[in-house]
Amino acid sequence: MADKIENNGYVDPRPPVIGPGYTFETLTSKIADVVLMRRFQKGWIFGFGIAFLLALVLFNTIAYLVLKGVGIWGNSVPVGWAFDIINFVWWIGIGHAGTLISAILLLLRQSWRNSINRFAEAMTLFAVACAGLFPALHTGRPWVDYWLFPYPNTMGMWPNFRSPLMWDVFAVSTYATVSAIFWFIGLIPDFGTMRDTAKQPWQRAIFGILSMGWRGDAKHWHRYESAYLLLAGLSTPLVLSVHSIVSFDFSVGIIPGWHATIFPPYFVAGAVYAGFAMVLTIGIPVRKFYNLEDFITIRHIRNMCKVMLATGLIVGYGYLMELFFAWYSGNTYEQFMMKNRMFGPYGYMYWLLILCNILVPQLLWVKKYRDNLLVVFVVSMFINVGMWLERFVIIVMSLHRDFLPSSWRMYSPSLFDFSMFFGTIGLFLTLMFLFLRFVPIIPMFEMKVMLPQAKVEEGDEAAQKEKGTLGGAVPQFGD
């Protein structure tokens, strides 16, 4: 993109999406060496160790949970949904940035997506894995979770197709499947490069299997592009549908605070908001640790900040509308719910939410702050917390005081609620560390397209440049 603009005698004022001075070879080695090196860096071992310890906390909690039942959680009438569903929605939301980056930004031909898409998609997968744990375990008898799926069982029964909880099963499992396939297909050309770059025979064999016979010829590229575009088309509606359906879990119910028509768009915006916050939370340290400043440039950070700003404002609009609806409905219960939300016993959670999700992110309007990594990191941390609080406000605060004052009760989480939640963070980070170490985290072939070397030139000059390089055959794509 930058090239074309320069050709017209105009210099793009934005920083480039890829640092200067790279050739196909140096780019490949920069990314592939992280995976192919034999030793483990001390920082990686340290980070992985801590993450894995947390993951062990999760595994132990799950074992105890299966042994004792969901009674070890704080959930109790009337708050039947609490940390389990909060964490489910929180994790599912986080996954959305990956799909948005990989699918929608691809279709919109945003070339800046190229360096962060694989990393964000991996985040999606791991977040969905963490999310899936909660509904699967909160059923109380996870060993019969297959009952959730429609199949000709000996009970002669089908799941209730009119229930949004049933739609949820399909939404989430489709989401997980499509994301995994999309991620893997995107990896195939890079696995091919890895196979060719690797020195060890066992490395070659592993990458050889993973690359599925990829030779990089024109036919392969043609098929790859078609498949990738089709999958992008398939994933695009998923960005909107998954969290819409998650929001139906609530909005189809008649509890005040849940029964609102604004829920689907408001949830989707929130999901993208949370997702980008998590991409930045993970991306900023990773970029620093692996010296990837040339690939994940300040331009990426800025763009992501802008997406967060936009989706954050939509979420803010959602909060405003909830207030408006409560007032405009003239419904005592709705009005009480809003009053209770702001000034009730959990009121501080609501104001914390406003602080984290609405007030703090407004810093991103200032260019200076968008360029300051520390500020961006802190803001995205605030958003991570804020989005969790949002689900707490919606789920627990709507349930704990409903129509009948005699059934009101406060909710308090147990130790195991926390160990489950922080445990999934551990699992997520564990998977992330493994990904960083064993898979090329930046799509090499898509980055190569953006190098000056990949520019198609006339005549002999072009032939000479493209000779012997894998990236040369890459069609112009995403530029």
Binding site: Y151, P152, N153, T154, M155, G156, M157, R195, D196, P201, R204, A205, G208, M212, G213
Partner: protein
């Protein structure tokens, strides 16, 4: 650069696509069918009892009505297991000294009931009631099969929920008149389609939506 994999890897790769589908589909097919086998349901597996008791002899040869022993079948949830006294009504006189009835006589003397082995065991979360079924035209043999032909007792049905529902969704197929309830060799008459509907009306049987409601059986 030398090839990493032999030529045959290509064929293997192509095969694997079909193979994955076959294995996954086959596994699913196996599981679904396995759960319906008599190995899992224990249908048609004869159950040993402490006493050498034969339904074939008592019902088939002697023609004793079911309700002579299972007295409460028309009134309560449980059909009722006969007490030793019921056995002794006859066996104080008949076969009064045969060795294999010593267990019954011992029970009679000591007052300690015989430990019969349950053959038809529904899970405890299903509230099954014999009386409603019997009084509304569901005969014994519909669920228990030809008891008059069984030396040792066995299940003739899977007792799985889909089996319960097969009647609850279309009760008219098995309804019979009150006089035929304990008739062992009852078969649906040719006009059961019409007759069954009439009987359903006569017995005032509720709609299938009530019969298949969760709380009808799970309370």
């Amino acid at each position: 650069m030398p090839q990493i994999f032999p030529r045959s890897a290509n064929t293997l790769a192509r095969f694997s696509i079909v193979l994955v589908g076959l294995i996954a589909g086959g596994a699913l097919w196996f599981i679904l069918n396995f759960n319906r086998t008599t190995y899992v349901t224990q249908a048609f597996v004869a159950r040993q009892q402490p006493v050498q008791f034969s339904h074939k002899h008592h019902v088939g040869d002697d023609g004793i009505d079911c309700r002579y022993c299972h007295q409460t079948v028309e009134k309560t949830a449980s059909a009722g297991l006969p007490s030793t006294k019921t056995c002794m009504n006859c066996h104080s006189q008949l076969f009064a000294n045969v060795p294999y009835l010593e267990i019954v006589r011992e029970s009679w003397r000591s007052g300690k009931p015989i430990e019969w082995q349950r053959v038809h065991d529904l899970p405890d979360f299903s509230y099954f009631n014999h009386s409603i079924h019997v009084n509304k035209g569901v005969g014994c043999s519909t669920c228990h099969g030809r008891v008059d032909l069984m030396p040792l007792m066995w299940n003739t049905q899977s007792l799985q929920m889909e089996w319960c529902l097969s009647c609850h969704r279309a009760p008219e197929k098995v309804l019979r008149e009150q006089k035929d309830i304990t008739k062992m060799d009852w078969v649906a008459p040719p006009d059961q389609d019409v007759k069954g509907k009439e009987l359903a009306k006569q017995y005032n049987i509720q709609s299938t939506s009530v019969l298949t409601s969760c709380s009808t059986c799970h309370r």
